[in-house]
C-alpha cells in the first residue's frame, strides 16, 4: 500500500513537473561542465542556496498571490521597511539580550504580515487592481524607511544579532532552512488544504468560486498576509546577515520573486501554480547567476541573462497553454 502510494506520487510528480525537472537537470549538467570543478564544491552550492534564499522565501508567498490572480510589487520596499523598523525595535527593546532577538523576529513577522494585510485589504475588500495598489505601497514603504533612517544605514547594536543570519545549522545556513521549511509548509497548504483548493478555484474563475459558496474576499486577502509574513522572515535574515540595513536595500526583490514563480510554472493569469516549482525556479536563477560570475561575465550583463530566462519560461508556458 505504502509503495503503491509512493509510485502514484512519483507518476503524478513526473507528469506535472516534467519539463521543469528536465530543465533543472540540464542546467545542473551545464553548470557542472562549465564550472568544473568549482561549481560542485559544497561551499559553492551552499553559497548559491544562501543567495537565492532571501528572494526565494518571498517568491513562495508571491506564488500564492499570483495563483489568486494578483501580484505584489511592494515586497522589496517592504523588506527594507520591515528590516529597518525591526532593527529600531531591537535597539530599543533588546540591545544586549538573546530574548530581544527572538522578540524582534516575532515582531518582524507581525509587522510584515500587517504590511501584507494592508495590500490585501485594498485588493480583496476594496477591489482595487493589485498592480496599482502594490505600486503605491512600494513607494510608501521605501519612502517611510528612508525618512525614519534619514537615508542612512540602520545599525544593530546587539552584537549577537548577526549570528542569526550567518550561522549554519546541520551544514546549511539558517536562511536556507527558512526557505525549505516555508516551502514545505506552503506546499502542503496549496495542495492539501481547502484553502489551497479555494485559492486555485478563485484564481481560475472568481465567479465560479463565488457561486460555489467560497468566501472569495478572504481567499484573495490571505496570500498577501502570507507574503508579508515571508517578507518578515527575509527582512530578519537579510538584516542580521549584515547586522544592519540600508534604506535602499532589497530593491528589485519583487522581480526575483516573480521570476522564480514564473520559471517554476505558475501561470501569470492565475489559477495554477506550484510551490516546488517556485523553489526550483529560484535555485535555477541562482545557478545561472553563479555560472555567469564564475565565467567572469560582466555583472551588468547578468540581469540581461535573467531577463532572457524569464521570457523563455513564459514563452514555453504560453505555448503549452495554447495547445490545449
Amino acid at each position: 500500500m505504502g509503495e503503491n502510494k509512493f509510485m502514484t506520487y512519483v507518476r503524478k510528480f513526473r507528469l506535472k513537473e516534467h519539463s521543469l525537472g528536465m530543465a533543472f537537470i540540464v542546467l545542473m549538467i551545464i553548470a557542472t561542465i562549465v564550472g568544473w570543478p568549482n561549481f560542485l564544491k559544497v561551499r559553492n552550492l551552499t553559497n548559491i542556496l544562501r543567495q537565492i534564499s532571501y528572494t526565494g522565501i518571498i517568491g513562495l508567498g508571491m506564488t500564492l498571490i499570483i495563483i489568486s490572480g494578483g501580484i505584489d510589487l511592494s515586497v522589496g520596499s517592504m523588506t527594507a521597511f520591515v528590516g529597518g523598523i525591526s532593527i529600531f525595535f531591537l535597539n530599543r527593546f533588546g540591545p544586549d539580550s538573546t530574548m530581544g532577538i527572538v522578540l524582534t523576529f516575532l515582531f518582524a513577522l507581525l509587522l510584515g504580515s500587517a504590511c501584507g494585510a494592508l495590500n490585501g485589504v485594498m485588493v480583496a475588500r476594496f477591489k482595487m487592481a493589485p498592480f496599482i495598489v502594490t505600486l503605491g505601497t512600494m513607494s510608501i514603504f521605501r519612502s517611510l524607511i528612508q525618512y525614519f533612517s534619514n537615508a542612512g544605514t540602520i545599525l544593530s547594536v546587539n552584537m549577537d544579532y548577526g549570528k542569526l543570519g550567518s550561522s549554519m545549522f546541520l551544514g546549511l545556513p539558517i536562511p536556507v532552512w527558512c526557505f525549505i521549511i516555508v516551502g514545505l509548509v506552503l506546499h502542503v497548504l496549496l495542495n492539501h488544504t481547502s484553502f489551497g483548493r479555494y485559492l486555485c478555484a478563485t484564481g481560475a474563475n472568481e465567479q465560479v468560486a463565488r457561486y460555489s459558496a467560497i468566501k472569495v474576499s478572504v481567499v484573495k486577502f490571505l496570500p498577501y498576509v502570507i507574503t508579508g509574513f515571508t517578507v518578515g522572515i527575509t527582512a530578519i535574515m537579510w538584516s542580521s546577515r549584515l547586522n544592519c540595513i540600508n534604506p535602499s536595500d532589497c530593491a528589485g526583490y519583487e522581480m526575483d520573486a516573480i521570476a522564480a514563480a514564473v520559471i517554476g510554472g505558475t501561470l501569470m493569469s492565475g489559477g495554477k501554480g506550484s510551490i516546488i516549482g517556485t523553489m526550483m525556479g529560484a535555485i535555477m536563477l541562482g545557478i545561472i547567476n553563479n555560472m555567469l560570475v564564475m565565467g567572469g561575465i560582466s555583472a551588468f550583463l547578468q540581469q540581461a541573462v535573467k531577463g532572457f530566462v524569464i521570457i523563455v519560461a513564459v514563452l514555453l508556458q504560453y505555448n503549452s497553454g495554447n495547445s490545449k
Binding site: 492539501h192 488544504t193 483548493r197 478555484a201 474563475n205 465567479q207 465560479v208 468566501k215 495554477k272 490545449k324
Partner: protein, 506 residues
C-alpha cells in the same frame, strides 16, 4: 423539387482527429434557397461538419463543391469570400465597440488611411433596415440583449453578401418570442434567396422553420428528409438510433405537502420588485418568463449572491437572513447556475476536485488536510450514479462534453446534501440522452422529498416537469399557473403581458 440547383455539395467528407474518426464519409447537398435543418446528439459531428464548411477545420478526405465547382476552404476568411457566413453559438462580438463597428469588424471601409465611419454607419443602417431590425447602429454591443447581439451577428454575415448562412444553435439563449422574431427574419432572408443551415437541439423549432432535415449520428449521415415526412418522435428516434419512449417522467403530486420555502415581497434595486412565491416539500416548481425577467436574479437573491433591498425569506416557517452563499448552503439550499462554464465548474479541475469544492470543509477533512482518498471514493460514487462518461477522472473538465460537465456540476451540489435544489436552465446545450437522465434525476429527488425549482426558457421542459409554474415579467411575478393551467399559451401570455384575468395562486 429537383429543379432547384444544389448550391453546396459535400461528398464523402471524412474528418479524423489523431486517428479518431468523427465524421465518416458524409455526403449531402443543399439546394439553392432552402433552409436545411441539421440535428444530432452532442458529439454526432454537426459542429465538425460546419467547421469544415467554414474553413475552421480541414477535412481529412472528401470534396466540397460550391455551385458545382470544387472549392478548397483553407480558412474562415476564404469561406467568407465564397459567401459562406456563420452566426456562431458563442458570439464573436466586441462589447466595447458599437453595433456598426462590430458589423464591419475586420471588413472596415476606409477613406485614405482613415476609417470611413459615416459610410459604415450608413451601410450598417441600410443592412439592418433591409432585415427589419430595429437597432441603433451607435449603441455599444454591451448594452444589447442576447437577441439583439444575434441580430448584429446576422447583419455582420450579411454585409459580406453571404449566400449561405449557418445558424449554430441560435435559439439556445432566446425566449419563445425572440425565437419567433428570428424565424420571421430567417423567412425574410429566404425570400431574398439566402440558403441557410439551421442547427438545433429543439426538434419542434426545426420542424417549423426548415424545408429539409439532415440527421447525423456518431459521425455518420443517417437521413435527409423533407419536413413533411417527419415529426419529433421520428427525428428523436433517428438521432438516438433507438426508440425514444418518453422524455419526461410522470409528474409528482405535491399539492398537499407543507411549504418549505416561502419568499415574500423580495426586492432588489432595479431588478426585482415584490417577488413572492412558495415552494412545497418534494415539489418540482417551475419558473418561466422571458430572458431578463428576473428569474435568475430572484434565485441569486435567495442564495445570498445579490444584495436584497427588502422582503423576507422563510425556511420551514422560520425567517432566515442569507448574506453569503455559504449561509445558503448551510440552510440546505443549492443553486445550479445557467452559466455552467462562467459560474459553475472550474474548467481546469478534474472530477474529484470539482465535486468536492463546496463540501470540502464538511466532508473531506482529516486533521486539517484534505482526505484525497475519501474525495476519490466519493467521486467514484457520483460517476456511477450520474453515469458520467470520462476518459479519465483525472482529466480537466474542459475536455468534457456539455452533458458530462453538467452532471459533474450537479454532483457537486448534491454532495452538499441540499433540501432545496434550484436548477437554472439545467439542460441548456446538452443532448437528449443527458437531458432525459437529468429529468429522471430531478424526478427521483422530488420523490425523496427534496424540493426543486426549475428555471427554464424551454417551455416544453417546464410544462413536462412541473405541476405549478410561476411566470415572471419585468422583475415581478406575473402569475402562478397550476396543473391544467400550465400550457404554452398561458405561459406566453403571462410572460409578455398580453393576457388578462389569470387566476392567482399563492
Amino acid at each position: 423539387m429537383d429543379e432547384t440547383p444544389n448550391i453546396l455539395e459535400l461528398e464523402g467528407i471524412v474528418k479524423e482527429f489523431s486517428s479518431v474518426r468523427v465524421l465518416d464519409r458524409v455526403s449531402m447537398s443543399i439546394r439553392q434557397g432552402e433552409i436545411m435543418g441539421l440535428i444530432g446528439e452532442n458529439g454526432a459531428g454537426k459542429s465538425t461538419l460546419i467547421k469544415i464548411v467554414t474553413g475552421i477545420y480541414q477535412k481529412t478526405e472528401g470534396t466540397v463543391r460550391l455551385d458545382g465547382k470544387q472549392v478548397n476552404i483553407p480558412d474562415y476568411i476564404t469561406a467568407k469570400g465564397l459567401g459562406i457566413g456563420i452566426v456562431p453559438q458563442e458570439f464573436n462580438l466586441i462589447n466595447y465597440l458599437t453595433v456598426y463597428e462590430n458589423i464591419f469588424l475586420g471588413n472596415e471601409r476606409n477613406r485614405g488611411i482613415f476609417l470611413d465611419k459615416s459610410a459604415m454607419r450608413g451601410e450598417a443602417r441600410a443592412q439592418l433596415a433591409a432585415l427589419k431590425m430595429p437597432l441603433d447602429v451607435d449603441k455599444a454591443v454591451s448594452d444589447l440583449s442576447v437577441a439583439e447581439k444575434q441580430m448584429v451577428e446576422i447583419a455582420k454575415a450579411m454585409v459580406l453578401d453571404a449566400r449561405i448562412l449557418i445558424f449554430d444553435e441560435p435559439t439556445t439563449t432566446l425566449t419563445a418570442v425572440e425565437v419567433q422574431h428570428l424565424f420571421a427574419l430567417m423567412r425574410k432572408l429566404k425570400e431574398q434567396g439566402v440558403t441557410m443551415i439551421f442547427i438545433s437541439h429543439k426538434l419542434g423549432e426545426v420542424l417549423s422553420i426548415c424545408d429539409r432535415v439532415t440527421v447525423l449520428r456518431d459521425g455518420i449521415l443517417v437521413s435527409v428528409d423533407p419536413v413533411a415526412d417527419l415529426d419529433t418522435t421520428i427525428m428523436a428516434r433517428k438521432m438516438v438510433g433507438r426508440d425514444f419512449s418518453q422524455v419526461f417522467p410522470e409528474k409528482v403530486d405535491s399539492s398537499g405537502k407543507p411549504p418549505i420555502l416561502e419568499v415574500e415581497n423580495l426586492s432588489c434595486p432595479v431588478l426585482l420588485k415584490d417577488v413572492s412565491f412558495t415552494l412545497r416539500k418534494g415539489e418540482i416548481l417551475g419558473f418561466a418568463g422571458l430572458v431578463g425577467a428576473g428569474r435568475t436574479e430572484t434565485m441569486e437573491a435567495v442564495m445570498g449572491l445579490r444584495k436584497i433591498e427588502g422582503g423576507t425569506i422563510r425556511l420551514d416557517g422560520k425567517e432566515v437572513r442569507i448574506h453569503h452563499p455559504r449561509e445558503a448552503v448551510d440552510h440546505g439550499l443549492a443553486y445550479i447556475s445557467e452559466d455552467r462554464q462562467g459560474k459553475g465548474i472550474v474548467m481546469d479541475y478534474d472530477i474529484p476536485k470539482n465535486i468536492s469544492l463546496i463540501s470540502l470543509k464538511e466532508k473531506y477533512k482529516k486533521r486539517g488536510l484534505i482526505d484525497k482518498a475519501k474525495e476519490a471514493e466519493s467521486s467514484e460514487h457520483y460517476i456511477k450514479e450520474f453515469n458520467i462518461v470520462a476518459a479519465s477522472k483525472r482529466a480537466a473538465l474542459r475536455f468534457f462534453s456539455g452533458g458530462n460537465q453538467q452532471k459533474v456540476y450537479l454532483a457537486r451540489w448534491m454532495d452538499t446534501k441540499p433540501r432545496i435544489l434550484i436548477l437554472d436552465e439545467p439542460t441548456r446545450g446538452i443532448d437528449i440522452n443527458a437531458k432525459r437522465e437529468i429529468y429522471e434525476f430531478i424526478h427521483r429527488l422530488a420523490e425523496d422529498g427534496i424540493s426543486c425549482i426549475i428555471i427554464s426558457s424551454e417551455m416544453e421542459e417546464v410544462i413536462g416537469m412541473c405541476d405549478r409554474v410561476y411566470v415572471m415579467r419585468e422583475g415581478r411575478i406575473a402569475g402562478c399557473l397550476v396543473k391544467e393551467q400550465v400550457t404554452e399559451e398561458n405561459i406566453v401570455f403571462n410572460a409578455t403581458g398580453i393576457q388578462k384575468g389569470m387566476k392567482q395562486d399563492g
